[in-house]
């Protein structure tokens, strides 16, 4: 573990795209981390965020960006459902749960796919090729949708 982490620290430039991943999804923590960064690096939060975003756009492969857009979409759908639940109430609770957990589960599965297909994580997942990762993703998604459809009644 430790060796791997060091290796990552030595080459910091490519992984920046990862932090950018969450820029569209959950912007708040990024801003927070950026402010904390500004303490030692004398950069404003906005500059850091913009730099990260630029780096993300530059360094990320097209396919990963596609995955990220899908994940952002899932987050939007999940947040909308949750807000609706908070406003209107959770009367058919199983319907809310299945809808919400479908988005959460799909998000998590997609994140797993993204991690597994990422070229930097080759060492971590030596037995899993990208094709295998995609097949696993399909398998997991099918199960997830079966359970959600069953649970929504």
């Amino acid at each position: 573990m430790a060796a791997k982490r060091n290796a990552r620290d030595v080459t910091p430039s490519p992984p920046i795209n990862k932090s950018g991943t969450s820029t569209p999804t959950t912007p708040a923590p990024v801003v927070k981390s950026a402010t904390s960064k500004s303490k030692d690096a004398n950069l404003s939060a906005q500059e850091v965020a913009v730099a990260m975003w630029d780096n993300y756009v530059k360094a990320t492969p097209q396919r990963t960006k596609l995955i990220d857009v899908f994940m952002a979409f899932l987050v939007v759908v999940g947040v909308l459902q949750f807000v609706y639940c908070v406003i209107v109430g959770n009367y058919p609770f199983n319907a809310f749960l299945s809808g919400f957990s479908a988005t959460v589960g799909q998000f998590v599965l997609t994140a797993s796919l993204r991690i597994q297909t990422n070229a930097e994580n080759k060492a971590e997942f030596e037995s899993i090729s990208p094709e295998r990762a995609f097949a696993d993703y399909v398998f997991g998604s099918l199960i997830l949708h079966f359970f959600c459809v069953n649970f929504i009644n």
Partner: protein, 750 residues
């Protein structure tokens, strides 16, 4: 066990085939041993369902097979909990019944029609073979040596700690649950090792199956998050952990919510909150790790760590707040009593009254696990030596399971798999060290058996050269064979012990009582089935039977009559009602029985035979449970003599003598003995000369050895008298001279 010797010189490609074949043969033999060591009770007695709980499972399975799956799923059972009924489809774990139903239909499709009873009886032995196989797979993930898996499989196959809940005829949830437990853990280890979403999803599917089979799934839901949490705390977070855990949680939680009995519990109850918390924590950590990898600054890292700790504590605080404010249900009593061991005895007597819920004594560990229990700590120590992700799992599992098995006898069952695994790891290490017969040359730099304890130095050559480079280790054949011989001896003794324990302690059906006659032949006391059969054949189809809750399932299963309470103790007040009826005087009990439309009352009485598990010995629990609801009407103190003794002889208190239970147990009992000689063999007490008199109920049936006594509740008196008055009139107790004095009369209202 002797495989290792043969394997050692079977090398190469051909050797691999031979070893594969050997392994297959050994596994099949182990499965055969696991199945056949559980058949003692079927061979000695007959193929019947044993304890109390399995009778309900059996009845539900019969319903499933007869009516199909959909009817079973919304089965409303109006023949238990008489006035209330039970929504059975929503209050049971359907995994066991569905499994045996599927086997039934599969065999039928193969044109092998087998009676459903035989499938139910033999389900547990069959699944124990699968458990042995799952243990083999699980151990192979843990240990590099192939022999450890085989050793663990045979241990798991014959360890009495597991046999005790899975003999033939013990058709209980644990029969398939232990297999699912071990197999889920195997899949989990596989998932976390590979970081594969596929194995995570499989693990979630089997977890869902486990949820459908046994309430002990809570153990898995807490163990896997704990494993991940420990890994995170050790700084071993990796994307493999993220992928496997998140896949498992997202799919597994949804899968577990499909079971009606579980429902929304994974969201609402406290037992499941650790899994949710770790899920949230992993999301945060995953995100933070990405950011950290992007911006390499020491200070930034520490700030992020602080951020993680902050969010974690906020989440924990929020959880506590939600629990306190009641949004999330607190721990259930059964689960809570594992932490606060005195809780059940004080607050919920019905939990404390079950004998399985008592703390475990030391001999029980040795009795159930013989040599495994002293190899167990060594195995955990071995795991500490080589601390990979999966070894952490073993350590966490061992610590948690040994605590729980110390608190509750019943949870010895969850300890047994990990004890088998760790003991097998130790034994295989020992055997591997001492079975390699080749001793290295004195100048050989790598010694295969370096890990072995170096007890003595054996200089193979004399002279100065060997003194410079001394060879440390044990290389003589004698010492090696001594150690191996001792281990083999232990293993043989283990097999003997297991067989002996299984044969003597765990293979007796509680329905049939067996005793030995002086000439060694077996005498079977079959009063239970005799009485239940009487009920089945000589009472109305819907005659309600009142008995203590222990016998509810058996009456439902064997006598096929509606009962008031049964072993599924979901309604404490209803049980307390029965307890009050049993422990009050007839004048109080009769209206209660009328209100509940009771037709027959059944008591178990072992005084004639010396059968100690009878209702008089359980009587105090009835009193206690009733006292919990009606503290003014039933008082435990009243059943003790002034010196605080629980007596049934002439010193017994009036409350005791007037209680319905006492009267029903000892009614007419004097008539069996010469005057003044009536003896209760369980309590070892001489009974008073005048037996109790029953007014409102009458004896309907007493079995051959007086173990089961059935009473019929009398109808209301024709002329509207109290039963006591009517009975004393019948006995001719009316006064010879009619008293002229007017009694105190009350105004007639109408």
């Amino acid at each position: 066990m002797t495989v290792a010797t043969e394997n050692s010189y079977l090398t190469g490609a051909k050797g691999r085939n031979t070893r594969g074949l050997l392994r297959l043969v050994i596994l099949c033999t182990i499965a055969a041993a696991a199945v056949s060591s559980r058949l003692f009770s079927v061979i000695r007695f007959e193929s019947i369902i044993h304890e109390f709980d399995p009778w309900f499972n059996f009845r539900a399975t019969k319903y499933l097979v007869a009516n199909g799956f959909y009817d079973f799923w919304d089965w409303f059972d109006d023949r238990t909990w008489h006035p209330l009924g039970r929504v059975t489809g929503g209050t049971l774990y359907p995994g066991l019944m569905v499994t045996s139903g599927a086997i039934y239909h599969a065999l039928k499709a193969l044109t092998l029609p087998v009676d459903i009873r035989n499938i139910c009886v033999l389900l547990a032995p069959g699944f124990s073979g699968l458990t042995a196989f799952a243990t083999y797979l699980f151990t192979n993930e843990m240990s590099s040596t192939p022999s450890a898996g085989l050793l663990a499989a045979i241990f798991m196959g014959i360890a009495p700690g597991y046999i005790s809940r899975s003999v033939a005829g013990s058709y209980d949830n644990e029969a398939i649950a232990i297999f699912l437990l071990v197999f889920t853990f195997y899949l989990w280890i596989k998932a976390i090792k590979l970081g594969s979403a596929f194995w995570g999803a499989l693990c979630a599917l089997f977890y869902g199956y486990m949820v459908s089979a046994w309430g002990g799934y809570v153990f898995i839901t807490n163990l896997i998050p704990l494993h991940v949490f420990v890994l995170v705390c050790m700084g071993r977070f990796s994307s493999r952990v993220y992928v496997s855990y998140c896949t498992w949680y997202a799919l597994g939680t949804l899968a577990s919510m499909q079971i009606p009995f579980v429902g929304f519990l994974p969201i609402r109850s406290s037992e499941h909150m650790s899994a949710l918390g770790v899920f949230g924590l992993l999301q945060l950590i995953g995100f933070v790790e990405f950011v950290r990898a992007g911006v390499p600054s020491k200070q930034f890292q520490t700030l992020l760590r602080g951020f993680v700790v902050l969010v974690f504590s906020v989440a924990l605080g929020g959880l506590v707040l939600l629990t306190v404010s009641g949004v999330i249900a607190p721990w259930t009593g059964r689960f809570y009593s594992l932490w606060d061991t005195g809780y059940a005895k004080i607050h919920i007597p019905i939990i404390a009254s079950v004998s399985e819920h008592q703390p475990t004594a030391w001999p029980a560990f040795f009795f159930d696990l013989n040599l495994l229990i002293w190899l167990f700590p060594a195995g955990v120590y071995l795991c500490f030596l080589k601390l990979t992700d999966e070894q952490v799992f073993v350590v966490v599992y061992s610590i948690l399971a040994s605590y729980f098995s110390g608190v509750m006898v019943r949870l010895m069952l969850t300890l047994t798999p990990i004890v088998c695994v760790t003991a097998a790891m130790v034994l295989s290490t020992i055997l591997e060290t001492y079975l390699s017969m080749k001793s290295p040359k004195s100048d050989a730099e790598s010694v295969a058996t370096e890990a072995a304890a170096s007890k003595k130095n054996v200089p193979t050559k004399g002279g100065l050269r060997s003194m410079r480079n001394p060879l440390v280790g044990i290389y003589t054949v004698v010492s090696k064979s001594t150690v191996v011989g001792a281990m083999t001896l232990y293993l043989l003794v283990f097999v003997l012990h297991c067989t002996w324990v299984t044969s003597n302690a765990y293979s007796s059906p509680s329905v049939v009582l067996a005793s030995k006659l002086p000439d060694g032949s077996q005498h079977i006391i079959d009063d239970y089935r005799e009485a239940y059969q009487w009920l089945r054949q000589n009472t109305k189809e819907d005659a309600k039977i009142m008995s203590w809750w222990d016998y509810g399932y058996q009456i439902g299963g064997m006598a096929d009559r509606p009962t008031l309470v049964d072993n599924n103790t979901w309604n404490n007040t209803h049980i307390a009602t029965v307890g009050k009826a049993m422990s009050s005087s007839e004048e109080v009990s009769y209206p209660i029985m009328r209100q509940h439309e009771v037709d027959y009352v059944l008591v178990v009485f072992g005084g004639l035979l010396g059968y100690s598990g009878d209702d008089i010995n359980k009587f105090l629990w009835m009193v206690r449970i009733a006292e919990g609801i009606w503290p003014d009407e039933v008082k435990e103190r009243d059943f003790f003599t002034p010196r605080g003794e629980y007596k049934i002889d002439h010193e017994a208190t009036d409350t005791m003598k007037n209680s319905l239970m006492y009267k029903m147990s000892y009614y007419n009992y004097n008539g069996l003995f010469p005057p003044g000689q009536a003896q209760d063999r369980v309590r070892g007490a001489k009974l008073p000369d005048v037996g109790p008199v029953l007014n409102s109920i009458e004896e309907a049936y007493t079995s051959e050895n007086w173990i089961i006594r059935i009473y019929k509740v009398k109808d209301l008196d024709n002329v509207g008298r109290e039963h006591g008055a009517a009975a004393s009139f019948e006995r001719g107790n009316k006064k010879k001279k009619a008293a002229k004095k007017r009694g105190p009369k009350v105004l007639r209202v109408e």
